[in-house]
């Protein structure tokens, strides 16, 4: 039965679900007796109310053939709670209408990589989830074959019904208990993509009914009996620490149960795990515990706290000077070096050098940070929105000196993540609070808290220099000056690495006491704009066609000779050519100005074309044509949503996003002073997929980075002005359309 598609899959994933101890969601084996075969006739049955028999950690099956599939990964709006179970259901061979999806809990024994990050859930889950479904199907078929006394190869399956050569049928629900006792097969045959019935079809978000009727789903909605609410007073500026406080007034306010100080446990943990240092303040914090959210938030305002400046109080001007100094200096670390850029520059006919600047960005997840914790002697119950549950369980275990087995962690649906919820600083706070008061508690942030508690996308500057000799690009030198960290992994090997003989990427960073971290498409969210603006300028200088220049560069890339080059020049060329065709590049009327970008990140190839029109003398981004090669599209309906969201998010932050600091204090705290893109500013997004049978890659991030570059290039076409600094609205004079005479 072994084919190219078969992969040996860890037996651990098939440990029967009785090992999901503490889950409390699974029903025991002997409650139900199998009877007549049946699949569901009426989809109107509420599948969540059926009684199910355990099969394994991913699957349980009801008597009537309905299947519950556990979605192992956290759902932040990227759609994996729908698409991952679709992959299992495909190979399991059940009808999607018979599937009910439940969020799995943190379970490192049975699930691998329960992370929402890096657009990797689908890419990493692809083989394992297909294997899970296919092996379960094979076991169910074997159980039926045994019952009939026939060979499994004589049986066929359609939508959860097994049929033998004589035409007799058994439903999955009839044989689930027998099947669950069988040995897990080592190898299975996976379907050919042409036989897919679920993958590639449009499946609505599995939580759509709950979302549209306001059912509890999110961390902020999570409630248990006896739960109290905690609001935390943190240092108002980065670099400050608590010296003293007066809680007399707060304690007298209605509903206030206690006021405590926390911080010690986090500090002790940081000594053991300094890696988390740039993610959390080590100052003491004051916590108001109350019966309701409003009481806690209200009483928090009555706390009188004194803070002292403990570290350097950084301002945006300091960052600016620091990064400029770095770009001039020599303290770089080289991330990739081909040939000799110095020599190329010395021998060049022409050299172009440009600098691009980006600000700090908060994530601004729509649901502010919050977490539930209940620390008891027996167990540590945690629940809430977290992108990295296993990492956080490890930190909590360290912080409390308790084994990880004591931790029961439930992931709620998240009101956005964007990277912010990779860092569970708020989880640690909730745990420290519950450990101190020994009550179930929900730590809640206001929007103001949430912005000030940022683990921001740090300000970054790129300086790019290229040399031209005899009409060829001979050298390319990219310098990155950033804050707290630098580009990682394979990013220094993204396009145009491999296309230019003398190529170098150097990085340097400044250690800040403002907490920073990943923000949707880390580094590339700004790098793509810088490089793609630079390519356009290079083409203008060389007086060559902008698209042809990119295609010519791609012709030079030899991925077979350099394993660090993971983008495919062929796939890149195809998205470029498709984008040219679909966007009507070069054929638009004079009043439509276009900007082009091609980009590869998060394993996905993308090209975007922005259309800018002039309305009332102002350039307006009207439309983005987006061409995506993400391999097999698991759920086109969900994929389009991610793509549109990523593009518009990219446009919004390039246009408006900026958080400044003054003496360690963020200068905006809420949506009155911090501008997010809204309905009227959102362009139309027209998406085209490249159809192929490559394994699928993720879509949560890769369409965001190109958007900033596409609009910068289109705005240049419209206004004649090159934009070197984000957000673009920061330099309104460059967004003015000059009179025709000047342009012409």
């Amino acid at each position: 039965m072994s084919t190219n598609n078969s992969i040996t899959f860890s037996r651990r994933a098939f440990l029967r679900s009785s090992s999901l101890a503490g889950g409390g969601m699974l029903i025991g084996f002997n409650l139900f007796q199998a009877c007549k075969p049946k699949v569901i006739a009426e989809p109107a049955i509420d599948l969540s109310t059926l009684a199910y028999n355990d099969f394994n950690a991913f699957i349980k099956i009801a008597e009537n053939g309905a299947v519950t599939i556990f979605s192992p990964n956290p759902e932040i709006g990227q759609g994996v709670k729908t698409s991952m179970p679709m992959i299992i259901a495909e190979e399991l061979d059940v009808a999607w209408k018979d599937v009910y999806v439940e969020q799995g809990i943190l379970d490192t024994k049975n699930y691998t990589r329960q992370v929402a990050g890096g657009s990797q859930s689908i890419r990493h889950g692809w083989d394992a989830l297909r294997e899970t479904g296919a092996k379960a199907k094979q076991m169910l078929v074997s159980a039926a074959a045994t019952r009939w006394g026939v060979d499994p190869s004589e049986c066929t399956v359609s939508e959860g019904v097994i049929t033998n050569a004589a035409g007799e049928t058994l439903g999955y629900g009839d044989v689930v208990k027998d099947a669950a006792l069988l040995e897990v097969p080592e190898e299975v045959t996976l379907k050919e993509p042409k036989d897919y019935k679920i993958i590639g079809t449009n499946i609505a978000n599995v939580d759509i009914d709950k979302i549209t009727t306001g059912k509890p789903l999110f961390g902020l909605d999570y409630k248990v009996d006896g739960m109290v609410y905690a609001a935390v007073v943190r240092p108002p500026a980065f670099g400050q620490k608590l010296t003293s406080y007066d809680d007399t007034e707060a304690r007298a306010m209605p509903g206030v149960l206690d006021v405590i100080k926390i911080g010690g446990k986090v500090r002790a943990m940081l000594e053991e795990d300094p890696g988390f240092e740039s993610k959390i303040s080590s100052s003491d914090k004051i916590v108001v515990i109350a019966e309701t959210t409003w009481q806690a938030l209200n009483a928090k305002k009555a706390i009188k706290a004194e803070w002292e400046n403990d570290l350097f109080m950084e301002s945006t001007e300091n960052h600016d000077q620091m990064l400029n100094g770095f770009l001039k200096g020599t303290q770089f670390e080289t991330k990739r070096k081909d040939g000799d850029v110095k020599k190329a520059f010395a021998e060049a006919d022409e050299v172009l050098e440009r600098t691009y600047e980006s600000p700090f960005l908060p994530h601004n997840c729509m649901e502010p940070m919050n977490f539930f914790a209940n620390v008891t002697d027996e167990k540590i119950y945690l629940a809430g929105p977290i992108q990295t549950p296993a990492w956080k369980a490890g930190l909590v275990s360290k912080m409390l000196g308790r084994p990880e087995e004591d931790i029961h962690l439930e992931m709620t649906r998240m009101g956005g993540g964007f990277g912010r919820r990779l860092y569970g600083d708020f989880v640690l706070e909730a745990v420290e609070i519950s450990d101190a008061i020994r009550k179930p508690v929900k730590m809640i942030c206001t929007r103001e808290d949430d912005v000030a508690l940022g683990i921001y996308r740090p300000a970054t500057k790129y300086r790019i220099k290229a040399s031209i000799k005899d009409g060829e690009i001979t050298g390319y030198h990219l310098k990155e000056a950033a804050i707290n960290s630098n580009m990682y992994g394979l990013i220094p090997n993204f396009f145009p690495a491999g296309a230019i003989e003398n190529y170098q990427v150097d990085v340097v960073s400044y250690k800040s006491n403002i907490t920073t971290g990943a923000w949707r498409a880390p580094y590339t969210n700004f790098l793509a704009y810088a490089e793609q603006s630079f390519f356009d300028e290079l083409a203008e200088l060389m007086e060559v066609d902008k698209i042809q220049m990119r295609l010519d560069l791609l012709d030079k890339v030899k991925p077979d000779e350099d394993e660090r080059i993971q983008y495919s020049p062929d796939r890149m060329k195809e998205v470029i050519k498709t984008a040219v065709e679909k966007s009507g590049w070069g054929t638009k009327p004079d009043n439509i100005y276009q900007g082009f970008v091609n980009y590869y990140c998060h394993n996905t190839h993308v090209a975007e074309v922005a259309d800018v029109e002039i309305e009332n003398g102002e350039p307006v981004v009207k439309k983005i044509t987006c061409v995506v090669d993400c391999g097999i599209v698991v759920n086109p309906l969900g994929a389009l949503n991610q793509i549109e969201g990523g593009v518009i998010d990219g446009v919004g932050h390039a246009m408006y996003g900026e958080l400044q600091f003054d003496a360690g204090k963020p200068m905006a705290h809420n949506f009155d002073r911090y501008r997010l893109i809204r309905m009227k500013e959102a362009p139309i997004v027209e998406t085209h997929f490249i159809k192929n049978e490559f394994s699928p890659t993720g879509l949560g991030e890769p369409t965001l980075p190109p958007a900033g570059g596409a609009i910068a290039n289109a705005l240049k076409a419209a206004t004649g002005n090159r934009l070197y600094r984000q957000p673009f609205t920061k330099t309104p004079e460059l967004l003015k359309v000059p009179s025709k005479e000047i342009i012409g």
Partner: protein, 153 residues
Amino acid sequence: MPTYQINVNGESRTVDVTEDTPVLWVLRDHLDLVGTKYGCGIGQCGACTIHVDGTAMRSCSLTLSQIDGKSITTIEGLSEDGTHPVQKAWKEVDVPQCGYCQAGQIMTASAFLDSNENPSEEDVKNAMHGNICRCASYTRIHKAVMIAAENMD
């Protein structure tokens, strides 16, 4: 603490709260109606939108005395079974990404459509401009409101 009588989703409910408690937190903490969301608390994002006598209002910026004698509808009471034309359009288009802002979007859209029979694309954009969707599902929100507009009674 004073006792207030409020009329929510067709029922009269009694709550015991201080008078400065925003309606948003009365709904969420005291009445277990958590469909109405907190996003900003200052009337800027629309996540907390409810209907007060049929008009869309920001519940984070309303006190109980401001809704005295008025009837409140929340997302939970928009329809009995999720079949209001706006809810149906939202499902048809599969609008949500994270979903957090969507109750507020639906409440804004449904109040708008109640008083605007044949809105233009521009009218819809203006009506929805006050509701932030951080996931930027704007294209689908727009589409769903246009579909719902056709199906309103």
